[in-house]
């Protein structure tokens, strides 16, 4: 299970506009829920990242992404 810091570090390789939006959504979930998300398979060109819900509900992630304007397609996040 990745920590928030590990996820943020992974996202730092993305363009900053995309990175901070996803980071903001992850922080929102981390501060308000028990849902734990791990990010992986970063794609710089497509500006996407895959996710795995380690604990909790995907609905929390969906709600946060909807609030931030992040698109969820399958297990991939994109802006």
């Amino acid at each position: 299970m990745a920590t928030l810091a590990q996820n943020f570090k992974l996202l730092a390789d993305l363009h900053e506009d995309t990175a901070v939006l996803i980071q903001s959504a992850l922080r929102l979930i981390d501060d308000n829920t028990n849902t734990k998300v791990t990010l992986k398979n970063l794609n710089k060109e497509k500006k996407t990242v895959d996710f795995v819900i380690e604990a909790g509900s995907i609905n929390d992630l969906k709600q946060a992404c909807d609030y931030k304007g992040i698109t969820i397609k399958g297990s991939t996040l994109s802006v």
């Binding site: 810091a5 943020f8 996202l11 730092a12 390789d13 900053e16 990175a19 901070v20 929102l28 308000n32």
Partner: protein
């Protein structure tokens, strides 16, 4: 007919005339040759002096050219050093930005924001929690007076202008590089041209010296021309003279 004395007198007279005319012509020829020899030798000396001066000037300009080439090499090394510094700055910037983006601690983020925009000591900038609309969630946000945001806007504008300037400067550097390449090509052609002239001049100078040497030898020892009349001509002339005197 003519008496012996008359013939003798006539022969002596003719002999004296021949000797006088021959001597005069020899003197004139000798004077003319001496003048031509002196002129040719003076011209050769002048040419040698000019050649020596030319060689000295070429040596001087070649030395100056080497100095300039060394200066160009130094400038090119400076350019490489600056390019390496630019590369280093870009890598450091990328690394710093990555670290900033990876930061998790909200208080550290707030402090870095204050530091970046010279707002340290401002107590009214702080992390607060605000409700998320339509949700029981709260979100941590950085609270700051609205006018402070202007600094981030001007910073962004400055960054865009800087990027545009940088792009244009890159174009200028590229064009300067093209000009430098063309100048190098031009210089190479000039060197080739100079070398061709040098070869031509050296060849012409050597040919001149050789030709002048032959010319001087010719003037000093001209080819012998047999001007003595043949026996047949002498006999004819003698009989012709007697015949004319008898008339």
């Amino acid at each position: 007919m003519f008496s012996f004395n008359q013939i003798k007198t006539a022969l002596v007279f003719i002999l004296l005339v021949v000797i006088g005319v021959g001597g005069f012509q020899y003197y004139q020829t000798w004077q003319d040759l001496s003048a031509k020899i002196a002129t040719a030798e003076q011209k050769e000396q002048d040419m040698r002096t000019t050649n020596a001066q030319l060689q000295a000037n070429v040596a001087k300009y070649s030395a100056k050219q080497k100095q300039l080439e060394a200066a160009v090499d130094r400038k090119e090394k400076e350019i490489q050093t600056h390019l390496q510094k630019i590369d280093k700055i870009e890598k450091q910037l990328e690394q710093t930005n990555r670290q900033t983006i990876a930061t998790v601690d909200e208080q550290q983020i707030a402090n870095e924001f204050k530091k970046a925009y010279n707002l340290e000591g401002q107590q009214n900038i702080k992390v607060v929690k605000v409700p998320v609309p339509g949700s029981p969630w709260k979100e941590k946000v950085l609270q700051l007076p609205v006018d402070y945001i202007k600094k981030t806007i001007t910073a962004k504008d400055s960054k865009i202008a800087c990027q545009q300037q940088s792009a244009l400067k890159d174009q200028v550097i590229g064009l300067n590089g093209d000009i430098l390449d063309l100048q190098k090509q031009n210089l190479a052609l000039e060197k080739q041209k100079t070398a061709e002239y040098q070869r031509g001049y050296d060849k012409a100078f050597a040919l001149y010296i050789e030709t002048n040497k032959l010319y001087l030898e010719l003037l000093k020892t001209p080819p012998k021309v047999d001007v003595t009349p043949s026996w047949l001509e002498m006999t004819g002339g003698f009989l012709g003279g007697i015949f004319l005197c008898a008339l």
